[in-house]
């Protein structure tokens, strides 16, 4: 469904993606894209959506190159990382706006009920809390029956009940045969949901496989420590891309949120 071929992207001097090759073909699968801050996760996602234009490489969605195209995006439900909306519009109006752009087929009511958004529908977006904005954000991303879902930090700011409901919803979407890409720093979410992990480090794919495979490869019992092992970097082949200080920084950045949530 999505083919990424030799993707390169640099921002100024910073080479963010260095030859990414990925394909997502299986239906009904959840892939977690992991990696420390600045490893290129969001850039990769934005390349798929055509928001960031790569210098080199190709992306195909549904068998067609996305270069210069926009129609393919109707097949993707995208949840951006930062939920920020025009302050003068109400929740209802923003939902209506996305519906006028995307056309028929929206089914927002179940999501409004799921996240308890009904009391906020006529409120201006500037009056909403961060968590409620994220619920609106989720509603906009998920209200269409798109075969591909791309969720950038879907759990940011959600209360525990909404979090449980969101996880159930994602599982249901998977059952329907959708391909779901999630980026997150919350390792427990990955353990609960992901069928596959793509671990990015410095713009390259460092690991791709099932969570169990990652744990086995690094000889760790839980995913958190396996990922810590990648970052402190002692895979059996002895490769270590980072100096110790950098490794410690990456480790703390990546794993602190996970520990605090657990």
């Amino acid at each position: 469904m999505i083919d990424i071929i030799n993707l390169h992207k640099r921002f100024g001097k910073l080479q963010v993606l260095q030859g990414i090759n990925l394909e997502f073909r299986d239906q009904g699968k959840i892939t977690a894209v992991l990696g420390p801050n600045g490893s290129g996760k969001t850039t990769l996602i934005k390349c798929i959506l055509g928001m960031v234009l790569p210098e080199e490489g190709e992306i195909w969605v549904g068998g067609k190159s996305i270069r210069g195209e926009s129609a393919y995006r109707s097949r993707i439900g995208y949840l951006p990382q930062i939920a920020q909306f025009p302050n003068n519009l109400t929740v209802q109006e923003v939902i209506r706006l996305i519906k006028t752009i995307r056309g028929e087929g929206a089914n927002e009511q179940p999501l409004i009920d799921l996240f308890g958004l009904s009391p906020y529908l006529d409120k201006r977006l500037s009056a909403l809390s961060g968590g409620t904005k994220q619920k609106v954000n989720l509603t906009l991303a998920l209200m269409y029956d798109s075969p591909i879902l791309i969720l950038d930090e879907p759990t940011a700011g959600l209360d525990p009940i909404a979090l449980i409901r969101l996880k159930d919803f994602i599982r249901q979407e998977k059952q329907k045969g959708k391909h779901i890409l999630i980026t997150t720093h919350i390792i427990s979410l990955v353990e609960e949901l992901a069928d596959e992990i793509v671990f990015l480090l410095e713009g390259k794919i460092y690991f791709r496989g099932a969570p169990g495979q990652l744990k086995a490869q690094y000889g760790e019992e839980d995913l958190e420590h396996a990922i810590a092992a990648i970052l402190t970097s002692q895979p059996k082949n002895g490769h270590n891309g980072h100096p110790p200080a950098e490794t410690a920084r990456l480790k703390s950045q990546t794993l602190q949120p996970a520990f605090s949530i657990k």
Binding site: M51, V52, R73, S74, N87, N88, I101, N137
Partner: protein, 260 residues
Amino acid sequence: MYKILRYSFYDLMRSRWTYFYFGFFLLFTLALLFLSSDVGKVIISLMNVILVLVPLIATMFGIMFYYNSREFTELLLAQQLSRTQLFLGQYLGLALSLSASLLLGVGLPFLFYGIFFSAEIGNFIVLLLNGVLLSFIFSGMAFWIALRHENRIKGFGLAIMMWLFFAVIYDGIFLLLLMWFSDYPLEYVSLGASLLNPVDLSRILILLKLDISALMGYTGAVFEKFLGTGLGIALSFLSLGFWILLPTANIRRVALTKDF
């Protein structure tokens, strides 16, 4: 593109800054009409305010609108819209809402005053038309600057500099040149230079229309001779049209190659 245009327009029409802008013109125009019984003079006073204020406000709105809707723009970019549709839609929505505030704010008092039965109707229309053109030009330039610069402070700074250049600095340089080269016949040079600044061009068009170009001496006569002809009018509107086309084309160009 129409959908985005409509949404941007409504979003801005509900901003309190739009009300403020509308309210300012409404009160100012009402006050002027109360204070003076000579509509011609009111139009001149309004011209002086519009020529400075409309570019400034359009510039500020353009910059603020882009930066404020930056994240939402990302969400819209992920929909099946082309970038041209999205950004030109936003720009046109912005320019039209600014134009609407101006037209209503200045227009309503004049309407009640009975401008349609006045001999000044032509001058009034030229004034409003210039205000609308300036709204389009400066909001477009600001939108282009904002699109080029992710750093908001830099974007703000550049946009204000751009306004300052056209509203103040350009005239200063222009006057200095006229002084230094006063021994030479500069009428056609100054004519050309005016075409290059939309604010000057608007001012001259209004002054000519008001028939007070005699105040500008020999240069005024040259201007009138040139701009009074069909060719002159065509050229000045062509020039204003170019000033709208310049940011529009550049918004499109930058939008097509930018990473979000």
